[in-house]
Amino acid sequence: MNLHIILLLPLLTAAGVLISSNKQVIRMISLFGSLIQMGLALALYFAFTAERTAGNATQMLFEQNYTLFTSLNIHYHIGVDGISVAMIMLTSFVVVAGVLVSWNIEKMTREFYFLLVLLALGAYGFFISLDLFVMFFFLEISVIPKYLLIGVWGSGKKEYAANKLALMLMGGSALILVGMLILYFNAGHTFDIQQISQSVIGGRLQNIIFPFLFLGFGVFTALFPLHTWVPDGHSSAPTAGSMFLAGISMKLGGYGCLRVATYLLPEGAKEYANIIIVLSAIAIIYGAFATMMQKDLKYINAYSSVSHVGFSLLGIGMLTQTAITGALMQMVSHGLMTALFFAVIGMIYDRTHTRMTAEMGGLLKVMPFIATILFIVGLCSLGLPGLSGFVAEMTVFVGSWENADTFHRVATLLACASIVVTAVYILRAVGQTAMGPIRTEHLSLGDAKWNEKLAAIVLLAGILAIGIMPYWLNDLLTGPAKIIMDRIHP
């Protein structure tokens, strides 16, 4: 399969959106573009597994390599492994749902969809690139769309949130840039990930570079204490913006932490693993308790995201093959789950015009579909078996338990304990919103429309596909996880 299509299609969609002026046409172009992209992502999955079952064991498949800047040895090198395929599928699902829930945006529709598609383009490019320079290029592409999406179409303290997000992410990029350049000059003037992985970089140097790269990507994935943009950003963004932020953007960071920082600098990863564990354990527990205090549905989901993303960072810090597989599964699962959660919150807000749980109640009576989805996604968030959250968190815990010393055991237990807190806030929020007596002014509200139903079903399908049959995702991710582990414990 030619990976260029994955980038070409969003580009064409964006161009189509730009040249058309009718709002309905713009929506249709975006929807069909993203649906075809979803089809492509699935096709990529099948092509990928077909190659693997046929016995093709090269690390990266469908590779293409073009020289971009000869004098600087920068290559446009793309290719996918299991992690990339999983992330591309996740992105395509979230994009379809994001386009669908934004159907009613009337203010500057063209610009809105253009920025959405541009954001998606950045994510696709990031996940397929194998050259740090190109990767960085795609990572940075997504910063400005996020800024504008929040600042123009957001609500509440949107300008503040947009600024904070853009500056923090730019700060993260600056760290990545420094790490990347040091790596470039010490790995023999190359940005190519595979070439860097083959060059010998001294342990001391790795210890210097690793923090730059890990913290840099950590800002994107809300590593404690660099997570402060998350609550503001998520809660001020428009629905699709929150979905993209939590579902895609935070995954860029996690992917980078693993693919760039941990994979390229195994010695550095070993050196700092304990710190990562401590930070992510704090994030998990702090996030959970902070969520308990929130009364705004979007803040609840934003803080719980900090907590959930903590699981995937914990998995990375544990440095066992199972834990890393779990971390990756958690990224995919959390992406689908939070996107769906934000979508549902958006649907509720469109009808009740409030996000405060205390001002709602009994919504199950008037909007059964939306409330049911809210229940399902809540249960997924607290880790009910049969849904994706359980599979991912379970894998992380099993992997973490493989480390037999007290430190790792305590961290694992603490992380496990947070699930109880999760149950408290999720059940309370969902209960307050969907059950109990209904307010009289909410009696006339209607249920989800076709676009909202479709969006929810797409994401739910992903959640169930992982929850019921986790083996396909597991098969995708264990191979690459093993390659990373082989570098850490040769």
């Binding site: 000869t70 592409i141 800024y147 504008l148 300008e159 600056a174 840039l177 420094v178 470039y184 000059f185």
Partner: protein, 467 residues
């Protein structure tokens, strides 16, 4: 048989011919602005294209005047910038009373810069530097009815006279200790004696004045604010570009033996320049002052690239300046259109611009993103290459500080973006009719901003010229 010097000096000759043409127009009956301007624009385009006539190199007048493909390329960049200015500032130029004189001065300055780039001797270097500076001071005074414009011209002429004095002092010290003025003979005679270092530091200071490196930047903001936009853009793009090119050849070729001295100077000054430029830009409310301080910060980044002392650094700086031409001129072009038709110049006035003038809003946003170094604009590549070049010395502190400064600069560029796209304004800038020429020039700039980085052969081409 056509003599050599016609080939080698073809760009200088073209500029001189245009100057003569303008003089004759002035002596004769004169032409109306609306008919003269297209002619000038066409001639400037010819001037730009003349650089591609032949790929020749050589020297004239006993090594006083050098031509290499690289120098021709640098001249082409400057000519392109002048051509773009003549297009982007159409509105203002049409209204000015003394159009012929304006271009007379501008082209004299350009001629000075051409000689500056080609100079192979400290004497011709000094002469051409003066030729490149004094007309610009006269241009700064072109808004004749505005006091602030005269003030700008006065500040400019005083500070450049001062820096010329320092330059001459430096030249005499260098000459006194080496006994030569020729660039090719100097490196062998430089041994790092205190007298030479002192002479070099004086020379360096003169450059720092012209490039507005902190702490020699104080004239910049006032001059930029007071002068008409066309002049400000000429100053910030063409003058800066020419001086930066020469500065680099100066350090890399002539003063290579004093490398450690100038490396330390550049290291410290680049940090100060970036930080001060950025911090002051944060507080500006007038768009021209804002762009002035942002251009000071950009010079700081250019110094990071210069510090590398290898062909990679030179390539990165030239590429960055090429990108900077488009980004900065587009920003100034928008400022000019708005200033000419409404007289508004503060960031407050730009609030809600996007709602009334989406085209101008996009162009300005794009150029600001390019200045901030955000992909997919060419500014991203330009900045990244500068930092890569800076990192090649192994001094990572410089890169860390530069990285932090990119974040600070993003803050104030976003401030303007936010004003245009997000803030509400009860009294927004009304819908402005943009002249077709200006529009095309802006679209050209926008295309260049988007595509220049992706067309990687350009960078490699510059690299092959440098190496």
């Amino acid at each position: 048989m056509i003599p050599d010097f016609i080939y080698l000096m073809r760009s200088e000759l073209v500029v001189t011919l245009i100057i003569f043409f303008l003089l004759f127009v002035k002596i004769g009956k004169g032409m109306r602005n609306s008919s003269l301007l297209p002619v000038i624009q066409f001639l400037l385009l010819v001037n730009f294209l003349s650089h591609f006539a032949c790929h020749c190199s050589g020297n004239l007048f006993g090594n006083m005047f050098l031509v290499t493909p690289l120098i021709t390329m640098q001249k082409a960049i400057l000519s392109l910038a002048v051509y773009l200015i003549s297009l982007l500032c159409t509105e203002w130029l049409k209204k000015t009373e003394h159009l012929a004189e304006f271009f007379l001065l501008m082209l004299s300055a350009l001629l000075g810069m051409f000689f500056l780039l080609s100079s192979g001797n400290l004497l011709i270097f000094y002469l051409s530097l003066e030729l490149a500076t004094i007309p610009v001071a006269a241009m700064a005074n072109f808004d004749l009815h505005k006091r602030i414009s005269s003030e700008a011209a006065m500040k400019m002429i005083l500070s450049s006279a001062f820096s010329s004095g320092i330059l001459l002092f430096g030249i005499s010290l260098v000459y006194g200790s080496t006994g030569t003025l020729s660039f090719s003979a100097l490196p062998a005679l430089l041994n790092g004696s205190p007298l030479q270092i002192m002479g070099f530091v004086f020379l360096f200071t003169a450059f720092a004045f012209k490039l507005s490196i902190v702490p020699f930047h104080l004239w910049t903001a006032d001059v930029y604010e007071g002068a008409p936009v066309a002049v400000t853009s000429f100053l910030s793009v063409v003058s800066k570009g020419a001086i930066a090119f020469v500065f680099m050849t100066f350090l890399y070729k002539v003063f290579q033996p004093l490398h450690t001295t100038w490396y330390n100077l550049i290291f410290i000054l680049s940090i100060i320049t970036m930080v001060i430029g950025n911090l002051f830009a944060l507080r500006q409310n007038n768009i021209k002052r804002f762009l002035a301080f942002s251009s000071i910060a950009q010079v700081g980044f250019i110094l990071v690239g210069i510090s590398s002392n290898d062909p990679g650094g030179m390539t990165a700086v030239i590429f960055f300046i090429l990108v900077y031409v488009f980004s900065n001129l587009a920003a100034f072009g928008v400022a000019d259109v708005i200033a000419v038709s409404t007289g508004k110049e503060t960031i407050e006035d730009y609030k809600g611009l996007y709602a009334t003038n989406p085209f101008l809003g996009w162009i300005l946003a794009l150029s600001l993103f390019s200045l901030a170094g955000i992909p997919p604009t060419a500014g991203f590549f330009g900045k990244l290459f500068l930092l890569t070049a800076g990192a090649s010395t192994g001094n990572y502190w410089l890169i860390i500080i530069a990285g932090l400064n990119m974040v600070i600069s993003l803050y104030y560029y976003l401030k303007l973006v936010r004003a245009m796209f997000m803030d509400k304004n009860e009294n927004p800038i009304p819908k402005i009719y943009v002249n077709r020429t200006v529009k095309w020039a802006m679209v050209l700039c926008a295309l260049a901003i988007i595509l220049l980085g992706m067309f990687s052969w350009l960078y490699d081409h510059i690299h092959s010229l440098v190496a």
